[in-house]
């Protein structure tokens, strides 16, 4: 070990001994090549990509640092995460200009080894925090990084476990974190740095920001409840979430029938109605000023409303929880969104990619553990809702044909659109009335075998090429209910045959039904495993985490630059004495507004504390003088 390297390692070992040890043990691959500039300064190339300017690395680093500091100042960031260590030229220049915390994410330990061997970095190593590519290398040796959160464990591959962008840390430290790349690193062919950057940006933006999100429902249909689940999940994640529930307009929409219009006129009326809805949504956005509008499939947004929303700098995301082959309105609307999430992958994403520049990503459905859960039913409920075999859903063609094979069972069909289903009449419950969510969960729990046959309008049973996984799959699993589901190409990463009974045909579904009716223990064991898997991986909270990671990662500077909703947590940090005690009763994510604080006083009993009385005064002041002005 050279004297230079020894000196660097000594400094590093003082701060991060485990990391120093791992760097020392790292082998340098042949793709990593050191060189020198004409003036003798060390250079590094990874797979042929230079990690600094080849002739003037210091001057180039200073230019980069100046522009970086401007970006940091623009969003009032107090901490920066830089992806890519290189030989540290850019970091030295930045450290000289930026007084905040600098954390460096370097997924490749060999790069660190070469940097420490080629340049005197003792000062830099004492100044910056290094988050290395290995969890063990980023442990408690980095107090500044650790100070941002409750754990010092950081891994470049899994920023969720790291702390530089931890939300609590962000709030505790009272600043904002910006995640940036050292540009040359992004050119490294294997894409490792690019992936790391995306992950860190997403984590920083997602957790360091409390977003204001407007979730827009459709008027009705299968995606309507998902909007509610998504909104609740976003709230659980700490974001200020507003659900624009358009269901109250459904009756009016249906009322258009009263005009008795011809088909063409009827379409004009429906289109006009949807235009009004879209204008209403745009007006809501105008009033609410959210960061993100998340529209569920069939939310009545049109191109002009979406464009108007976009012009306000509001991110637009569509969760298209539909079969893209059946519902094709995405062809006109996808290009007016910034992000489109689908429940299908390859062909779907490719098709959408041809009509939109929006970012596209696969995001399967999920379940809400507060809604879809095991229930203890009483005897009356079991008698009413229970059966050996059941199905809850709409009467699509393939189901009408397939379920005839189950009529010799104790079989109940629940749900709508079963009119005219020949031979199934005996099984259809409540004359084919719509089943609400609460009853659906009870039926799931009351049925020994729940059939889950994905819909098709043109198959007689199982769609052999069916891809997406329907919400019922997750909801049954989350409810702890046993299900037999038809095979879907996208099912394997989500559930296995150890958790669900998966079949390729209706005949197999019938056979499996008999088997599991006869094997109670196996049935219960599968249901339990499915529930555990669902809880671990398929909640809507997890889905929203993934959605936000995709949405806000690329927009972190845009979002950071916007004025944020101040929360109780923000001000409680600075509060003292009785004010802090009063604020301590609130969830830290509660928006710090006079209305929210006053609402907490509405039904209280006993003597008011001084902070309560002062906020009551301010609330009365607001009502007397400001309400009209604000409106």
């Amino acid at each position: 070990m050279s004297e230079l390297q020894s000196g660097n390692m000594t400094v590093l070992a003082e701060r991060a001994p485990a990391l120093a040890t791992r760097i020392a043990a790292t082998r340098v691959p042949a793709t990593h090549v050191l060189g020198t500039t004409a003036s003798g300064l060390p250079t590094l190339a990874l797979a042929g990509v230079p990690m600094q300017h080849l002739t003037s690395p210091v001057a180039d680093a200073e230019r980069w640092a100046r522009s970086t500091v401007e970006r940091l100042q623009a969003v009032a960031a107090t901490r920066v995460v830089i992806v890519g260590f290189g030989l540290g030229y850019h970091l030295e220049a930045l450290a000289a200009r930026f007084a905040g915390v600098i954390a460096v994410v370097e997924p490749d330990l060999a790069v660190l080894r070469l940097a420490l061997a080629s340049r005197d970095l003792a000062t830099l190593l004492a100044r910056v925090e290094i988050v290395a590519g290995d969890p063990a290398a980023a442990t408690a040796g980095h107090p500044a990084v650790a100070a941002a959160g409750d754990s010092a464990l950081a891994t470049a591959a899994d920023p969720a476990a790291a702390t530089a962008a931890d939300p609590a840390g962000d709030a505790a430290a009272g600043g904002r974190t910006l995640v940036l790349a050292h540009a040359p690193a992004l050119l490294v062919p294997n894409g490792a740095y690019r992936r790391v950057l995306r992950a860190w940006q997403a984590q920083a933006a997602r957790s360091g920001l409390r977003l204001k999100v407007l979730v827009v429902t459709p008027l009705y249909g299968g995606s309507w409840p998902i909007a509610g689940y998504a909104a609740r999940a976003l709230t659980e994640l700490g974001h200020e979430t507003h659900l624009l529930d358009l269901a109250p307009f459904h009756d009016a929409f249906q009322g258009l029938e009263r005009f008795g219009a011809r088909k063409a006129n009827r379409r004009v009326l429906e289109s006009g109605f949807c235009d009004v809805m879209a204008a209403g949504i745009a007006a809501t956005v105008d009033a609410l000023e959210p960061d993100l509008v998340l529209a569920l499939a069939q939310a009545p947004l049109n191109a002009s409303a979406l464009d108007a929303i976009g012009k306000r700098g509001v991110l637009r995301a569509l969760w298209f929880v539909e079969d893209y082959r059946v519902m094709t309105y995405w062809r006109e609307l996808a290009r007016h969104y910034d992000h489109v999430f689908t429940i299908q992958t390859d062909a779907c994403l490719e098709a959408m990619g041809q009509v939109t520049d929006a970012r596209l990503a696969y995001l399967p459905c999920g379940f809400d553990p507060r809604v879809h859960r095991p229930l203890v039913l009483d005897a009356a409920e079991r008698a009413d809702l229970g059966s050996d075999v059941s199905f809850v859903g709409a009467g699509y063609r393939n189901r009408r044909l397939a379920f005839r094979r189950f009529l010799d069972c104790d079989f109940k069909i629940w749900g709508s659109d079963w009119g005219g289903a020949e031979g199934l009449g005996r099984a259809i419950q409540r004359n084919g009335a719509r089943i609400d969510t609460d009853d659906a969960i009870r039926i799931f729990n009351a049925s020994r075998v729940n059939l889950n046959l994905h819909s098709s309008t043109y198959h007689e049973g199982v769609d052999p090429r069916g891809d997406f996984v329907n919400p019922r799959t997750f909801e049954l699993a989350g409810s702890g209910a046993f299900q037999i589901v038809d095979r879907r190409t996208l099912l394997p990463p989500l559930f296995t045959g150890e958790e669900l009974a998966i079949v390729d045909s209706v005949a197999a579904m019938r056979e499996q039904t008999d088997y599991y009716l006869a094997h109670e223990d196996e049935r219960l064991a599968l249901a339990e495993r499915a529930r555990r898997r669902a809880l671990a991986e398929h909640t809507y909270v997890r889905r929203m985490e993934n959605l936000l990671a995709a949405v806000v990662g690329p927009a972190q500077e845009q979002l950071l630059a916007k004025r944020r909703t101040v929360t109780v947590g923000d001000v409680a940090r600075d509060g003292e004495g009785s004010l802090q005690t009063f604020l301590g009763q609130f969830d830290p994510h509660t928006p710090f507004t006079i209305d929210r604080l006053a609402a907490s006083l509405a039904n209280r009993e006993g003597a008011l504390s001084e902070p309560e009385a002062i906020f009551l005064f301010l609330h009365q002041f607001d009502e007397l003088y400001l309400r009209e002005h604000r409106a």
Binding site: R563, T565, V566, A607, L608, E610, P611, F621, E623, H629
Partner: protein
């Protein structure tokens, strides 16, 4: 009441309201000659306090700042909180022993509750956050705000009554400093108004457009006054200047625009210099009164000569004769025709007559202004404000009710003897006011009085019968509910029901016997007042002795 040493007056309203506090301050000084009086006012309006005699200290609270901070929101809300906390801390440190809150709002009630002052009168708050209105005259004021057409006392008299001292000053008070007078003289001179010019001041603007006489009417007035040899000086704030320019342009050379050129002191001096002021119900109107300049007030919309008329003798108020006048403070009239019923020429004639002190001519003019009514201001034998109609217009139903309420409350609250009952009945030219609703109210109140008396007796027993106490409590709830329904069904009586309701809201503590006695007093007062109303409206003698006897059963 023992003499107070440190008194706080809270008045967070506008500068006209602050001027209307001046007689109450004089009254406080008489009753508590050793007391130091602090007046808390909004900073933007507080300058007027410097000219009000008797104020030892003006505490300027920056509500504007609080508003800006709250509109900014977020962390600025903490700044607003800290500011209020600071104000409360400073006022608490003063250890006031008496406070009078002249701002009738929930906001001010919370504020007063925070100050920890032993004797608070007006709107305040219990430790549990409930509103209370302490002092019967403050409750009466709150009641009359909800029954404006029957309001019979001037705001100043409510303020004074809360001091437990009669006004007796006969006017609002404001002292113009020599410096302000000199500056005002310069302002007028710069506009070509010499010392010998005969000047009428015109206040064009008002806090709300509905209180404001139309621009064209003011132009007509100015021209008519010019014909009579008067120069018009348009007064107002800077924001009134464009309106002033238009009116001055319409009047011609006889008018000048002083809007925005005078501070509060100079305004007082300009008004003192004027022979008269023509104005709506505005702050400058009260300033003119305070400096002794005759006012011809034009009262439209929600303005009522009875409750905010110029508080001194021999001013003139022309009040809309619209059947809906005065309108409620909280409504927005979409067709304010009441502003258009006055002829500028006739108003000018009234101004000229008032300047000349020719009340016979004013009587004559009043007859030509119908349906508008013309009032001459003055005081009754007890020193309380009266607005007396000129030209004896037809007496209306609400006039009879207003007078009856005035006499009834003076009798019940202050012991002023009732006037001789005048049988209104079916006499020609007299309005008919059914007395049955008042009789019904008396019966309900006596029922409540009886039950409350029994409750008090039961609660004082050594071994209270809980079930019986609870049963009576339920019966009293029924009585109260019936009372409220009665007030709703018979609006003439609603003043009494509302007054009673405010009184019930005021009851504090958890000692059943004490609460029962206090409740009985409220029923008794209700019965007495309703009895008085019955007597005054129906010509039947009040049955007070019987009510009193029931209370002591």
């Amino acid at each position: 009441m023992t003499a107070a040493k440190k008194i706080l007056i809270v008045n967070l309203t506008r500068f006209g309201d602050l001027l209307q506090t001046s007689p109450a301050i004089a009254a406080l000084k008489r009753r508590h000659p050793e007391a130091a009086i602090t007046l808390m006012a909004e900073k933007n309006f507080a300058d007027v306090c410097d000219g009000i005699p008797g104020i030892d200290r003006v505490y300027r609270v920056e509500l504007d700042r609080v508003g800006k901070l709250m509109l900014d929101g977020g962390a600025h809300l903490v700044e607003a909180y800290r500011y209020v906390e600071q104000v409360i801390g400073e006022l608490r440190a003063e250890r006031f022993d008496l406070a009078l809150n002249y701002s009738s709002s929930r906001m001010s009630a919370v504020f007063m509750g925070l100050l920890e002052i032993p004797d608070v009168r007006g709107w305040s708050m219990t430790p549990d956050g409930l509103r209370v209105i302490r002092h019967p005259w403050s409750r009466l004021f709150a009641t009359m705000c909800l029954n404006r057409r029957l309001a019979s006392f001037n705001l100043v008299d409510y303020y004074c009554a809360m001091t437990d001292e009669l006004a007796g000053t006969g006017s609002l008070r404001y002292e113009v400093t020599p410096e302000a007078a000199a500056r005002a003289g310069e302002v007028l001179a710069e506009m070509g108004i010499g010392a010998d010019a005969r000047v009428v001041a015109l206040q064009l603007g008002a806090s709300r457009a509905i209180r404001q006489w139309p621009e064209a009417s003011f132009v007509g007035l100015g021209r008519a006054l010019a014909d009579a040899g008067f120069r018009s000086v348009v007064i107002g704030g800077g924001s009134d200047r464009p309106l002033g320019d238009r009116v001055v342009a319409g009047i011609g050379d006889a008018a000048v625009n002083a809007c925005g050129k005078t501070g509060v002191g100079e305004l007082g001096a300009v008004l003192r210099r004027a022979a008269a002021l023509v104005t709506g119900d505005t702050g400058p109107m009260h300033m003119a009164v305070a400096v002794g300049t005759p006012v011809v007030g034009l009262f439209f919309g929600p303005a009522s000569p009875f409750d905010t008329g110029p508080y001194a003798g021999d001013h003139v108020v022309i009040h809309s004769g619209a059947p809906c006048a005065p309108c409620d403070h909280n409504v927005t009239c979409l067709e304010p025709f009441c502003r258009d019923e006055l002829s500028p020429d006739r108003v000018a004639a009234a101004v000229v007559a008032r300047v000349a002190g020719d009340w016979a001519e004013l009587e004559s003019i009043a007859g030509t202004l119908a349906p508008a009514r013309v009032y001459r201001t003055g005081f009754d034998s007890g020193g309380r404000f009266l607005a007396t109609p000129l030209a004896a217009p037809p007496r209306r139903r609400e006039d009879a009710l207003r007078d009856a309420y005035r006499a009834s409350f003076l009798h019940v609250l202050e012991g002023v003897p009732l006037p001789q009952p005048v049988p209104l009945g079916r006499s020609p030219g007299r309005p008919t006011v059914p007395i049955a609703p008042f009789v019904g109210l008396v019966e309900l109140a006596r029922e409540g009085l009886t039950q409350a008396g029994r409750l008090a007796q039961l609660a004082r027993a050594k071994q209270p019968r809980i079930a019986e106490i609870e049963r009576i409590g339920r019966e009293l709830e029924v009585v109260d509910r019936t009372l409220k329904e009665h007030g709703g069904m018979h609006p003439d009586t609603n003043v009494l029901v509302q007054m009673f309701t405010f009184g019930k809201e005021n009851l504090e503590g958890d000692d059943v016997a004490t609460l029962a006695v206090e409740t009985a007093r409220l029923y008794r007062d209700l019965a007495r007042t309703a009895d008085c109303m019955t007597a005054l409206l129906g010509g039947v003698a009040a049955k007070e002795e019987e009510s009193d006897a029931r209370l002591h059963q």
